[in-house]
Amino acid sequence: MATLIQQIINGLSLGSVYALIAVGYSLVYSILLFSNFAHGGFLVIGGYFCYGSLRLLGAGIWTAGALALIGAGFAAVLTERLAYRPIRERTNVTLYLLIASMGMNIVIENIFVIIVGGRFRALPPVIPTTPVSVMGLATTSAFDLISLLSAVVFLGALQLFLSKTRWGLAIRAAAYDLRTAGLMGVNVNLLISIVFFVAGFLAAVGGIFLSVRYTLYPQLGAITIKAFVAAVIGGLGSLPGAVIGSLILGLAEMLTAGFISSQMRDLVVFSLLVITLLVKPTGLFGKSVSEKV
């Protein structure tokens, strides 16, 4: 029983970190209709910004965190301006964007290999990992609770932004029909920049927690494949879908690790993906293709 509760908390914690990454993926997909494979790069940029601020600038975690989120946000905007906008302006074929994003992922990864080297780096112990008892039923680490809580805060903030602000409304409208959003007087390029900033910003939150969990290295971004799977399971383009899909995936991974074997984790993850694609290709909350004109 204690193991079960513990693994559920761990699963929710891991899933919530996936969710931070998956919503960015999904947000970009909902507007531009391509899977941005450079998203993992944003996460790594966030991780190194945080690492650098802590180690080199001697900043505290709050400052380092803020720098990481803002830095990754702007890096995402820059990526879009340099690599995607020129393509968007020439063609509507989103396949080119997909290919460009794969290229940008390699570029970002290699920039870090060259600048900081490929070795694994541990972040200073800025996030407590002390054991915490959960109502006397189970023990888990403070880190898991903090990452869960942070994800809830950031996802809640995203939800508020999308539902309560003028730009949030514009993003929801653009997710349905970008062209017509432009016709309403929305500066579409600015809107896309905002979306990429948000995606990079949230990816960096995930990046910091993943760096603490698994250490930081230039290929850490590869883990976004899990968030991508989660976004597909939830339904690409749907934000609630991305969150639910992520939580399902996190739980599945941790329960597998706790009760079967840690080595089976990825097998379970990709089996879930295959089953979803077979049973409901549009994912749990996906739009049916005909709905999108």
Binding site: L169, R172, Y176, M184, G185, N187
Partner: protein, 251 residues
């Protein structure tokens, strides 16, 4: 013709191509303050292209578009800010957003400034049915209601010129009548209207002046009454029913 009034909206020698296909080859038109002007033309004449080019939604290859004498920007979000808005062909309401959210989107260029309450009230006075459905998702509205929403949404930016691309498309005659009646009211409240329609009779009955667009060129223009009576127009655009209706007036 001696004292030229400055037009509110002027399109001069506008050319637009899609790749090798030329859609507009040097189109000009003028809309004066307070007018309703219609552009009629059959399928593929270039009507939607004209609207989209004015809005900056498609690239203007040559020619210019002016509002009160100053050039309209080529970026559509600036065009809306400058005072021109479009109710697009096929309505294009944001289906997963509510009626209210759609109207808020129309007010987007006004930023946080001022309250949109007054304009909402105005739109709801014009189209009371929208008020009853304020919280309903736009995708679940009927075609006629969606058209009202598209027009209301375009009005929320407080445009000086309202462009309408086939507001009658796919609607029952009785609904068309309703909507055209509201367009008259909107015009009476000071909004200048440029309307493109395949439904030539309705458009000409509503408008002060009309232009005839044929495969990317303006082939005729004049007061709507004259166009309605013109035998060539009757044969080409008003169909059998139209001919009859007009013949009874003629002697």
């Amino acid at each position: 013709m001696t004292t030229e009034r400055e037009p509110l909206l002027e399109v001069k020698d506008l050319r637009v191509s899609y790749g090798a296909i030329r859609a507009l080859s040097g189109v000009s038109l003028k809309v004066y303050e307070g007018e309703i002007v219609s552009v009629i033309g059959s399928n593929g004449a270039g009507k939607s292209t004209l609207m989209n080019a004015i809005m900056g939604m498609v690239r203007r290859e040559a020619g210019e578009v002016r509002l009160s004498g100053s050039l309209l920007d080529s970026r559509s979000y600036r065009v809306v800010q400058q005072g021109v808005s479009l109710s697009p062909e096929g309505r294009k309401v944001f289906a997963p957003l509510t009626v209210l959210e759609n109207l808020r989107m129309g007010a987007f260029p006004r930023g946080g400034q001022g309250s949109i309450g007054e304009d909402l009230e105005w739109v709801f006075t014009l189209f009371p049915r929208l008020k009853e459905r304020i919280g309903q998702y736009a995708g679940t509205l009927s075609g006629g209601e969606q058209q009202m929403l598209a027009i209301g949404r375009a009005l929320m930016s407080r445009p000086r010129v309202l462009l309408l691309d086939e507001p009658s498309l796919g609607l029952a005659p009785i609904i068309i009548k309703d909507i055209f009646k509201e367009l008259r009211l909107i015009n009476n409240e000071g909004v200048t209207i440029l309307l493109v329609e395949q439904n030539a009779r309705q458009a000409l009955l509503l408008s002060d002046r009309g232009y005839v667009l044929q495969t990317g060129e303006m082939v005729m223009d004049g007061p709507s009454q004259e166009l309605l009576a013109n035998p060539e127009i009757k044969a080409a655009y008003l169909g059998a029913g139209g001919e009859k209706a007009i013949r009874s007036v003629k002697h």
